[in-house]
């Protein structure tokens, strides 16, 4: 029997993995964006779960909005990455250390 807690645990796990993904990757920045997508996915799943179990459609409406905003954000993020690539000719994260103190 799959109860709500199973779903919630899954969603939490996915979230944690995506959070780890943000700072594990040292290869290129696209993985960062992908981890962000994953994070958003886990949050969306969470909303769906709660919407389903509380019989309220508001959760799904919110997921709708989140989807739209996430798409817009990844588009802009990729545009930034492209311009970064133009300057640096590489997407190595080690090169992006201008904030070094």
């Amino acid at each position: 029997m799959i109860t709500m807690s199973h779903y919630l645990v899954f969603s939490a796990l996915l979230f944690c993995i995506s959070v780890a993904g943000i700072f594990i990757n040292r290869r290129n920045i696209l993985l960062l964006l992908m981890s962000i997508e994953l994070m958003l996915l886990s949050v969306n799943t969470n909303f769906i779960i709660f919407s389903h179990y509380s019989n309220d459609m508001t959760g799904q409406v919110f997921v709708f909005f989140i989807l739209a905003v996430a798409a817009a954000e990844s588009a802009i993020g990729l545009a930034i990455i492209v311009s970064l690539f133009r300057i640096r000719n590489s997407l190595e994260i080690n090169l992006i250390n201008k904030l070094k103190g």
């Binding site: 943000i22 700072f23 994260i93 992006i96 201008k98 904030l99 070094k100 103190g101």
Partner: protein, 635 residues
């Protein structure tokens, strides 16, 4: 009378200022005249005061005329206390000072720094007067320091000579050591009596609650404070072991050796102990210590003089030896007798020094006695004065030295303890040694053939130099006859105990038939044989004798001891400074803390690495920690 008394220091300081600050206005001759006349005037005033005091019965002048600090019980001021003791001391100091002023008018004639010299000796006399007339311990100390300072200035008078600078520093530093203990002694007395004033101290001596005061190392409170004061006197009056500065102080010009290191400054210690005689009467162990120190100084330093070859150094060692006599007299509580010896010694020692100065001048600044000889015919007046001085110092009957020295030896037997008997024996041997070295000096310098160069240019000095010699010679001969005054002299609240003195003639006959005369005769015999007729004794080649002679010639290595001690202090303080100050405080705290902070910040700096994922990591980390804290509290 008070005005006469107050004008003495004023005249002296005036003389010092005039000669010191009148650069080209006054030429040397006039400044010398002014200086000498002012000092002679002060001397006349002191004679008048002394006469007044001695003709009246127990007159004591006492006044505080300037109060410097006055805070409840703590009163420091300038004042005077003149009784028979300090009046006599005043006369002695001013007499020697005026004689030396007159002498240096001619002696320092060729010096460019003539006026500086006169300024200094006037300043010295001023400080000494301040010391003598004082009525409290602090003024005594001020005068004490003042004479030490001027002694420093005068020993290093020829400041371009390296040895003079070493000598004056040595004198000052040894004095300083003594002063350190002196101040401790003053502090202890103040704590006990709550006042620096002599009168208050002496009046409260008997009511002192000795049970409430602590004892230290087996000495009672008063014992310890008197001992500390005496250590200050030891440094000033050149007793063992703080005597090493006096021979080196012969670097200064001869007049000051006569004034300071024979007659006045070195006697300040003796004067001080006599002044505080009511307090010293309460001591038991300290007086024995004083006795031993005095007797050993008298004997052992005298031995050094036998082997010295510099005329002034021989006389310097003889000064230390005679000071040992005075100190031993203090050690048996015979204060006025020691003062009597101080009085006669001032005359014949100053005489000896001034004669030596005349000899040195005549021989064009040659001080080595091995290059002198046969001056009896060349410098007759100097020879006669020197002879009188030598006869005084060895205690030849009817000279002043005979009276004072024999009196000391007599009184030494009054106390019935072993220590005083041992001291008595040491002093008798000291008299023997005194005879030997004094006659050695006489014979080598004035008898025989002239061993120096320029035999024809050796002639007698001018009259201005000879008059002081003659004055002092007369005083050395006849000042001993005032012995009665000194036997009966009271020192403020101390009265002398019974001394068996029946009169002048019985004293003379008694003195002639005492062991002192025996040592005199033996000494005469030995010195005539050794130095006049230059015979060779077999036992002088003895191994043991030569070893001891070598020990004496090295001056018992006191200089090396002090050098070693100071080096040790330097090394140990360096060690402590390195370990504590540099390593511990600087290394750990002053420099160490910034260094640690630096290291820490170097580590902390790596946090802002510039890499995005590091920052993200830190954000997540802090989030996790915050949530953990909240969860633990809530759940």
């Amino acid at each position: 009378m008070e005005s006469l008394l107050l004008s003495i220091p004023i005249l002296l300081i005036l003389s010092s200022i005039i000669t010191g600050f009148s650069s080209k206005l006054l030429n040397n001759f006039y400044s010398g005249i002014i200086s000498t006349s002012l000092v002679t005037l002060s001397f006349i005033f002191s004679i008048i005061i002394c006469f007044n005091i001695y003709s009246s019965d127990n007159l004591t002048l006492y006044e505080n005329f300037y109060s410097w600090i006055s805070v409840s019980n703590f009163n420091i001021g300038i004042g005077y206390l003149i009784d028979k003791y300090s009046a006599a001391m005043l006369v002695v100091v001013l007499l020697i000072s005026s004689v030396v002023h007159l002498y240096s008018m001619s002696y320092m004639e060729k010096e460019k720094e003539y006026k500086r010299f006169f300024s200094y000796i006037a300043l010295f006399t001023f400080s000494m007067i301040l010391l003598v007339i004082s009525n409290n311990l602090i003024q005594l100390f001020i005068g004490w320091e003042g004479v030490g300072l001027v002694s420093y200035l005068l020993i290093g008078f020829f400041y371009k000579k390296r040895s003079a600078i070493h000598a004056n520093l040595k004198a000052f530093l040894i004095n300083r050591i003594g002063d350190m203990f002196f101040i401790l002694g003053i502090a202890m007395i103040y704590t006990a009596f709550d006042s620096f004033d002599y009168r208050t101290i002496f009046l409260n001596i008997n009511e002192l609650d000795l049970d409430n005061l602590k004892t230290y190392f087996g000495l009672s409170y008063i014992d310890l404070s008197c001992l500390l004061l005496f250590i200050g006197a030891m440094a000033k009056s050149a007793q063992i072991p703080l005597h090493i500065w006096l021979p080196d102080s012969m670097e200064g010009p001869t007049p000051i050796s006569a004034l300071i290191h024979a007659a006045t400054m070195v006697t300040a210690g003796i004067f001080m102990v006599g002044r505080l005689s009511p307090v010293y009467e309460m001591c038991y162990i300290t007086t024995n210590i004083i006795l031993i120190i005095g007797a050993s100084t008298a004997l052992f330093i005298g031995l050094i003089a036998i082997f010295e070859n510099d005329i002034k150094k021989v006389i310097a060692y003889s000064t230390i030896s005679q000071l040992g006599y005075m100190v031993s007299a203090l050690g048996i509580n015979a204060y006025t007798i020691s003062f009597f010896h101080l009085y006669t010694h001032a005359f014949f020692k100053a005489l000896l020094f001034l004669c030596a100065g005349s000899v040195i001048m005549s021989l064009h600044h040659n001080q080595d006695i091995l290059k002198m000889g046969g001056l009896k015919s060349k410098l007759p007046i100097t020879y006669i004065c020197f002879l009188i001085g030598t006869l005084s110092i060895i205690g030849f009957p009817l000279t002043s030295g005979f009276f004072s020295k024999d009196l000391i030896l007599e009184v030494m037997l009054y106390k019935d303890s072993t220590i005083s008997f041992v001291a008595y024996v040491m002093l008798i041997l000291g008299a023997l040694v005194t005879t030997i070295y004094s006659l050695r000096l006489l014979f080598i310098v004035f008898y025989g053939d002239y061993r120096g160069d320029n035999a024809n240019s050796v002639k007698e000095q001018s009259l201005i130099i000879l008059i002081p010699l003659i004055i002092l010679a007369l005083l050395s001969l006849f000042s001993g006859y005032s012995i009665k005054i000194f036997i009966d002299m009271p020192i403020f609240m101390w009265s002398p105990s019974e001394i068996k003195y029946q009169g002048l003639l019985p004293f003379i006959t008694h003195g002639i038939f005492s062991p002192a005369t025996l040592s005199l005769l033996i000494g005469f015999y030995i010195s005539i044989k050794l130095y006049k007729e230059k015979t060779d004794f077999k036992f002088l080649k003895f191994f043991l004798f030569e070893k001891s002679v070598a020990a004496i010639k090295s001056k018992y290595k006191f200089d090396e001891l002090f050098l070693y001690l100071s080096l040790f202090m330097k090394k140990s303080s360096l060690y402590f400074s390195n370990k504590m100050d540099i390593a511990l405080i600087d290394g750990l705290i002053v420099n160490g803390i910034p260094k640690r902070i630096n290291i820490l910040s170097t580590y902390l700096r790596t946090i802002s690495s510039g890499y995005l994922y590091h920052y993200a990591f830190l954000i997540v980390l802090s989030l996790v920690i915050i949530f953990a804290v909240i969860l633990v509290r809530v759940l």
